[in-house]
């Protein structure tokens, strides 16, 4: 009995010790690979600081930040007005850091003849006004658009920047992850979808897009995103409370340093520097 008590006591002490020295990062699945890799490298040089990284989604991360159960929230969308209001009500101020840039690529089945689309055509396809590939210069085949889940940051970004804030067609197919989108597009002939640039591979075909009514088309690539000719790019954020700045400063500085930004590029995103 006594021994059991001692063990229990030891365990509680251990967990207490961990919680005090650890910094927690939580949120978007898109930012997750950056944070994980950065935390690994960071902990190697700063063995005293423990960083734990978990996913869950942008919304989960930000609400954890409001409730104080995480130190940094990673997000693939900007903090919403309602979330900002909640922070204000509880008297907290939040700081936003852009840690990396992500480009979205529009993809189609590799056998599709269409390899460039304008913003207006994309808008028509995803809002359900254009239904057949022959309307955009392809063969006579039904268009099957896939989207990400309604609440993912990627879904909202695409809606804001490509669909001019219009809603997706009702009943659009939605897939839980970038990987399953690629899988579905590679095996569905009429498919069109969008994924993060980092997920692009040879089983699907990326489409060049034009945001100036067809004057020039740009292919999605890291180089084009970096020189700002590729239009479908979005920033990825870290959010933290201003009062806990001293606690997270070291890690934030590291992720913005040249070493940190190298990790960003290794993972497949575009560095902010």
């Amino acid at each position: 009995m006594k021994m059991k008590k001692q063990i229990l006591l030891g365990l509680t002490l251990c967990s207490l010790a961990f919680t005090t020295s650890a910094q927690k990062i939580k949120g978007s699945e898109t930012v997750l690979p950056i944070s994980e890799k950065a935390a690994q490298v960071f902990m190697k040089s700063n063995s005293a600081n423990k960083v734990t990284v978990t996913g869950g989604g942008s919304g989960v991360g930000i609400s954890a930040l409001i409730e104080g159960t995480t130190d940094i929230a990673q997000a693939s969308r900007k903090i919403k007005f309602s979330e900002r209001q909640k922070l204000q009500e509880s008297g907290k101020a939040v700081k936003e850091i852009t840690v990396a840039i992500d480009a979205l690529a529009v993809i189609v089945h590799p056998g599709n003849k269409v390899n460039k689309l304008t913003k207006e055509q994309l808008e028509g396809i995803f809002t359900g006004k254009i239904k057949n590939w022959k309307e955009v210069g392809g063969e006579d085949l039904k268009i099957v658009p896939y989207a990400r889940e309604t609440s993912s940051g990627t879904y909202e970004f695409f809606k804001e920047h490509v669909l001019s804030n219009k809603n997706y067609m009702s009943g659009i197919m939605s897939m839980p992850a970038n990987g399953s989108i690629i899988q579905s597009v590679s095996q569905t002939k009429g498919a069109i979808a969008y994924v993060g640039l980092a997920y692009l591979n040879s089983s699907v075909q990326a489409v060049s897009v034009s945001f100036n009514k067809g004057k020039s088309f740009t292919a999605p690539s890291v180089a084009n995103a970096k020189n700002k000719t590729y239009p479908v790019v979005r920033p990825l954020f870290y959010y933290y409370l201003t009062k806990s700045e001293s606690k997270v400063k070291k890690f934030i500085d590291f992720s913005l340093s040249s070493d940190g930004q190298k990790i960003v590029e290794e993972v497949g995103y575009i560095s902010v520097k």
Partner: protein, 404 residues
Amino acid sequence: MQKRKIIRRILDNITEKLLTISGAVTGIAILFITFFLFTEGAALFQSPQFEHGYALYVNSSNPVNTLQPEETKAIFDAEITNWNELGGKDGEIKIFRIDDAFQIYPESELGENYELLPAKLGEIISKEENILAFLPTQYASQGTTVKALTAKNIQPKDYFLGKEWLPTATPVPLFGVLPLVLGTLLVSIVALLIALPLGLGVAIYLSELASDRQRRLLKPVIELLAGIPSVVYGFFGLVVLVPIVQKALNLPVGETAFTGSLLLAIMALPTIISVAEDALRNTPRAMREASLALGATQWQTIYRVVIPYAKSGISAAVVLGIGRAIGETMAVMMVTGNAAVMPQSLMESVRTIPATIAAELGEAPAGGAHYQALFLLGCILFVFAMIISISAEIISKKKNYKAH
């Protein structure tokens, strides 16, 4: 000797107490979870229609006072473009969002903390009589030329009978759960229709026809089927089943309700087989022998004596199979395509309740209307599951009554 007895009694006592406590804790936990689920879900009907902290504003000369959620959506999707379609004057609707203000006025004119913003917004609205502005209430000006459209809270009717699920649409999210409920039921029931004959056949074979060796080989293999994680099933479904369905039926897309049903049928099989087989094997030896002694063949014995005797057990297997199918999340999410439309046919994509919760809860702002709508979906699923387990209970009770 005496001492040992006392110690044993004390130990027995302690075990008894511990068991009571663990029972009570479990009970309380279940009650707590249910309570939590329903309070979070019910809060939806206290949420306003619009995104929290926002409202719609028009010029006060505009006769329109209120807009239905569907109308608002149609306006912002540019399907309704004129006020006269809504009972107003003839004039093209001009949509205005808060971000547009920053394009009209440089940020320096709006003040450090946007304290000049309300006045500027008021100016814009009073100048343009066909405007429909979607603004945070915090920055709305209280001038006489600006009128806020009245907004009701989300109505139970719109939720339970709504046909569109667009939870992140701005300015009015639509939470119609009908497509999700119907999608869940469609996928589960078709899955059961596929799994039931197959499962019953296997159960009859195992309990009546198979030799001891075959049974000893088959039973663990079937039980292994229940041990495969559902994501693995989903992955198998997406990579193998989806292309097969697409090619075999010559469909534009392979992610359909039918694919989901097929996968769920495979997943529900072990449950159905093992419960039905147990029921069949519980038929008393005397009844079988009596039937055979009367000259019935083996097949006649099976379907005239054994199956009627095991009827309640088989029904329990059916109900448990439905339970497995309705609650399944990951596998279905990966193969049904998740399109939130009213299911028209089996060969179209559908979205189920568990898949919706799993996919959306992670990104929904905690405490918002979307979050609560998802909890209420959980409540609906909970009610389904409760009906299923209560009917399983009633069915298995019936058996005892018959046997005695």
